[in-house]
């Protein structure tokens, strides 16, 4: 997988490069702001862009806007947005174009190297990676939903992990239950939320995200 990194802190950028290189992921370019990112993507044509939300010159959300812009210009480009803060509002903006190959994580998640690299690979393969905090916020908006209240605590856990973008296997591993049990929970969740059960794992994730309004 070929990756470009947009991050204005040189320290973090170098750290990310080393971390990805250790895992055998090729970093083909780096940028310090939004415009530079668009230029680097144009010349290197990577599979995935890892983008920090806050960058010069305004230090607000230029990374996010550059990421959305880049996805508009280059069909099939996957982006993983990292941020010091996560807000479901930003997730919604990011997912509004097309939820395939989109990730949005807290920067802290980099500390858990294995999980982070897993998320990078997932997004690179066209999956999604939403931060648990974003999912918690999305749940927060649905806390008075009758259908959501009907879910058992376990089913809520499964729904949360699904919304984060995990595969059935990963969910089973995470909750230390069998793949069959996960399958059963997912069927129940879909029935209770009134969603159409669909074959592929990724399309199920999209259905969940749509339901949550992300």
């Amino acid at each position: 997988m070929r990756v470009v990194i947009a991050e204005d802190s040189v320290l973090l950028r170098a750290g990310l490069e080393r971390l990805l290189a250790d895992e055998g992921i090729e970093v083909v370019g780096a940028a310090g702001d939004g415009d530079e990112l668009l230029a680097v993507i144009g010349t290197t044509e990577p599979d995935l862009a890892i983008v920090d939300v806050r960058m010069p010159p305004t230090f607000t959300d230029e990374g996010l806007r550059a990421a959305i812009e880049a996805r508009g210009r280059h069909a099939g480009l996957r982006v993983l947005v990292l941020s010091q803060y996560v807000e479901d509002e930003y997730a919604r903006e990011l997912l509004a174009t097309d939820a395939e190959g989109v990730g949005y994580l807290l920067k802290d998640r980099v500390a858990d190297v294995a999980d982070f690299v897993e998320a990078v690979r997932r997004v690179g393969d066209g999956g999604t990676a939403l931060d648990p905090e974003v999912v918690a916020q999305l749940f927060g908006r649905h806390q008075r939903d009758r259908a959501m209240e009907d879910l058992t605590p376990r089913e809520r856990e499964v729904l949360g992990l699904m919304a984060e973008g995990h595969s059935n296997g990963a969910i089973a591993e995470h909750l230390v239950i069998s793949a069959g049990a996960v399958e059963k929970h997912i069927t129940n969740v879909f029935a209770k939320l009134g969603l159409e059960p669909d074959g592929t794992a990724h399309r199920r994730v999209l259905a969940v995200l749509r339901y949550l309004g992300a």
């Binding site: 806050r54 607000t60 959300d61 010091q84 803060y85 807000e87 479901d88 509002e89 930003y90 807290l106 802290d108 500390a111 858990d112 918690a136 916020q137 999305l138 927060g140 908006r141 806390q143 008075r144």
Partner: protein, 470 residues
Amino acid sequence: MTERSSWLDRLLGRHEQSHAKWDARRAERQARRETRRARRDERHARRHEQRRRHRQRHLLPHPARPSLTETLKETLHLLLDLPLGIATFTIVVTLVSTGLSTLVVLVGAPILVGTGIVVRWIANLERARFRWLLEAQNLQSATWPGEGEPFLQRLWTCTKDPTVWKEGLYELALLPWGIATFTITVVLWSIAIGATLFATYSWALSRSYPWYEVLGITVGGLVLLVVVQRIIHGIAMLTRALARGVLGVSARELTARVEHLSVSRAQTVDAATAERQRIERALHDGAQVRLTALAMELGRARERLDNDPEGARELLDSAHDEAKRALVELRDLARGIHPAILTDRGLDAALTALAARSPIPVEVVVDLPERPAPALEATAYYVAAEGITNVMRHAGATRARVAVTRDDGQLSVEVQDDGRGGARIAEAHGLVPTGLRGLADRVAGVDGELALSSPPGGPTILRAELPCGS
């Protein structure tokens, strides 16, 4: 003889002595009189100088002869006093008596509020008249009393506003005043103009006047014209001075405003200090402690690396956790100082995000035509955030509602819950105002007001009114 002469001499001598005494006394008196006169002159000179300075300071024209336009405007003004006086008197008396007499059946309440507004409206028209006809440029229109307040509160605001009362009294007094000025103006101008134009109609009168009488009356008329012009000017200036006293912003109000500003400034400084202390404490007790522990554990892990790799791994694990917790704490602290989404996306998004993190359902309604200034936005956010925090901590509520609206130059933030009520804004204890007190200070810092209604049993409504300055 000798005896006698000695006696006489003594007497005379004494007489002379007393003469000398009298002279001295007279001289003394004279001197005293002169000093007094000098002092009086000095006083006069000083008063004259004061008057000159006063005129200069207040940009009053030197009492020179007024121009023709000025005189025409002044005359028009004084003539208008009567019809306007009749109108204002009638309106005010009618409204007040109707309002008071129907107050018992509650119809009076809206009428009285309406009276307050009508009184202010008429007063503003009067101020405009003074600006236009008498060049009283510093008589600026006043704002509507209690604008944007709920009805009953507005009634109270109108009633207790001393300016509304003064305006009402002015509108009543305009009638007798108008009768006087109208009469004086008409009579004086009639005499002066009549005398000046005497030559043009004297032939038509029954008695024929000799030429010198006609000439005398005409000259007298001309002199009168100048005199009347001065008198009219004098009356107009008197009217203007009185109007300035009654319709102008009083020094007391200005003083009150200055006092309010100094208090709110002090409160802002206190609130800012408290905020800094809170941040310092949070950094000191939170992130700093965690980083110290992290450094310590990394140090121990390094020591053990060679002899006890398994123990070193455990220490590294715990150091890793410690580092992540420090990150979380720093992030929460930064969000508490100023949430990034507030800067990026504004109040609606920031409050929605805040509501999503709350354990109880919080409905968010933000209705703003445009984004307010950053300082105002931040204050509005803190009112909502502190309000929600309080709801969660104390109210025992099952749901809450945050509404941010703007009308007529006021940004209002309201946090309402269905909890047990009984909240209050405590007086500041010591240096650091906390909770709602700190919030009240912060709101005062942008010249706003914080109101809390929390009867026992609820509901609690926390409301901040922040002036937008436009």
